[in-house]
């Protein structure tokens, strides 16, 4: 992205163009870019197919908030008992069939 104050740079880009991270499915699409070098359309389609949703749903917080809790892959709000951190990543690795390097330490 680049340098700048958090409001002017990070938050502004997130609102204008960002996928939404764990609020939606941005972390999942990022993992496909990072592990398989997938370009964006391919990465989105792969994740959408694995989640059983449409590509348009991937950045829709209404759809993804509920689906993430149902799949127990980490949700943005603090839900007691929901999988967190490395717990959620183990489920993500199985769901997407990708390697998550830190899981190899378990």
């Amino acid at each position: 992205m680049g340098t700048g104050d958090p409001y002017g740079m990070s938050i502004s880009h997130a609102l204008a163009s960002g996928m939404g991270g764990i609020r939606t499915s941005g972390d999942l699409v990022a993992r496909m870019q990072m592990t398989r070098k997938m370009r964006l359309p391919e990465a989105k389609k792969y994740v959408a197919d694995k989640l059983g949703v449409g590509v348009q749903d991937l950045a829709d917080s209404t759809v993804m908030r509920r689906l993430r809790e149902e799949l127990d892959i980490g949700v943005v709000t603090a839900v007691p008992g929901a999988r967190r951190g490395i717990e959620a990543k183990r489920t993500i690795a199985e769901l997407l069939d990708v390697d998550v390097p830190c899981l190899k330490r378990l």
Binding site: M1, G2, T3, G4, D5, P6, Y7, G8, M9, S10, I11, S12, H13, A14, L15, A16, S17, G18, M19, G20, G21, I22, R23, T24, G26, D27, V29, A30, R31, Q33, M34, T35, K37, M38, R39, L40, A43, V55, Q56, L58, A59, D60, I73, G74, V76, R84, G85, I86, A88, K89, I92, D99, V100, P101, C102, L103, K104, R105
Partner: protein, 353 residues
């Protein structure tokens, strides 16, 4: 005739008439074509940019469904660091900042980095840095990068052990300057490999080489050789973000696998970066503070569009202060920042920012 409120490349407001706006967009595109030797934008793309800047709304964004993945160079420093990182000096630790980026800013990935943000000073404290990465890995769901700059200048006297090429070149000692750069490249590569392997050992998802080639072709060579080795021996996702739009030829004669590095533009840089084995590439197009933001955005997306077209790996364009059409100002105005953001996605066809 009504005017359109936009900004100059230094952030100050400027009023343009509609014909002036179109002229600036076409001139920015033409400059990219001339200097970068890339194809021009299509007429409908210039029209799209015109509508983007003519729209009076305070902020703009991409079409729903066109959202892209965010990676963040400079790491979480922007929250806890000082002005050197455009930081706002919050009294928070790095791991807390990481969680804020994940849960409050909803970033798709995030970095841990040292406040100095260079590989050389990280080397003696790498255990501390690796511990920070481990803490983030335990508690975060989003992918965790470690990031820093090669920062080649730290290897030349008086900051480093090698003769300073910038002192040797004015004296006409070209061969000595080249030899010094090769020694610096080896030391820089050793440091980047050492730190990266520690991050791989603790399970980091990725490593970021930010502001690559800031000191020219020898620094670019050091990064390419580092990437090559890491891609072959670790699970790290490797991101290479550039420092400027073309590679300076401080050495001038360096090649990597038969490719001359000096003078490369983003659409050429990405091909050697992907051949080395990197997973993500961050092209840079410098902002001209004496031109308008529409001129700069049109120029930037023209260059990045060609980079994205030829790439086989994801492109995460740099759109920070002073690059990608964004004004050269540490507090970038959201009106032009969001327009540069949307243009880079919709016309530059990037996979991320």
């Amino acid at each position: 005739m009504s005017t359109i409120r936009t900004r100059m490349g230094d952030g100050y407001v400027v009023e343009l008439t509609p014909p002036q706006l179109r002229d600036d967009l076409e001139a920015g595109c033409a400059d990219a074509v001339k200097r970068g030797k890339v194809p021009p934008l299509e007429v409908n793309e210039i029209d799209w940019l015109f509508d983007l800047f003519a729209n009076p709304s305070r902020i703009m964004g991409v079409e729903p469904g066109h959202e892209v993945v965010l990676t963040k160079d400079g790491s979480v420093n922007t929250l806890y660091s000082a002005q050197l990182s455009s930081g706002v000096g919050l009294p928070l630790g790095r791991e807390q900042c990481f969680r804020i980026f994940e849960r409050a800013f909803c970033f798709d990935t995030m970095e841990i980095g040292h406040p100095d943000y260079s590989y050389k000073p990280v080397k003696p404290i790498v255990a501390l840095e690796a511990t920070g990465v481990e803490q983030a890995l335990l508690t975060a769901v989003i992918p965790v990068f470690y990031g820093a700059m090669p920062n080649f200048g730290l290897y030349a006297q008086p900051d480093g052990p090698f003769p300073n090429p910038a002192d040797l070149l004015p004296r006409g000692e070209v061969e000595a300057a080249r030899e010094a750069q090769m020694q610096m490249a080896q030391a820089c590569k050793d440091d980047m490999l050492y730190v990266s392997r520690q991050m791989a050992m603790v399970g980091a998802d990725g490593i970021n080489f930010d502001t690559t080639a800031s000191t020219g072709d020898a620094e670019f060579l050091a990064v390419l050789e580092t990437v090559e080795e890491l891609a072959a021996t670790t699970d790290l996702a490797i991101e290479v973000g550039m420092a400027a739009e073309f590679v300076l030829g401080f050495h001038g004669e360096l090649e990597w696998r038969g490719h001359r590095l000096a003078g490369m533009w983003p659409h050429q840089q990405v091909k050697v970066v992907e051949e080395a084995g990197a997973h993500l590439f961050g092209p840079v197009v410098n902002t001209n503070s004496r031109k308008s933001v529409p001129w700069n955005v049109a120029r930037a997306v023209t260059i990045v569009k060609e980079c994205s077209r030829v790439a086989s790996i994801p492109i995460h364009a740099n759109v920070g202060m002073g690059v990608g059409g964004v004004p050269m100002f540490e507090v970038p105005p959201a009106d032009v920042l969001t327009r540069a953001s949307a243009a880079m996605v919709e016309i530059g066809r990037v996979d991320g920012l």
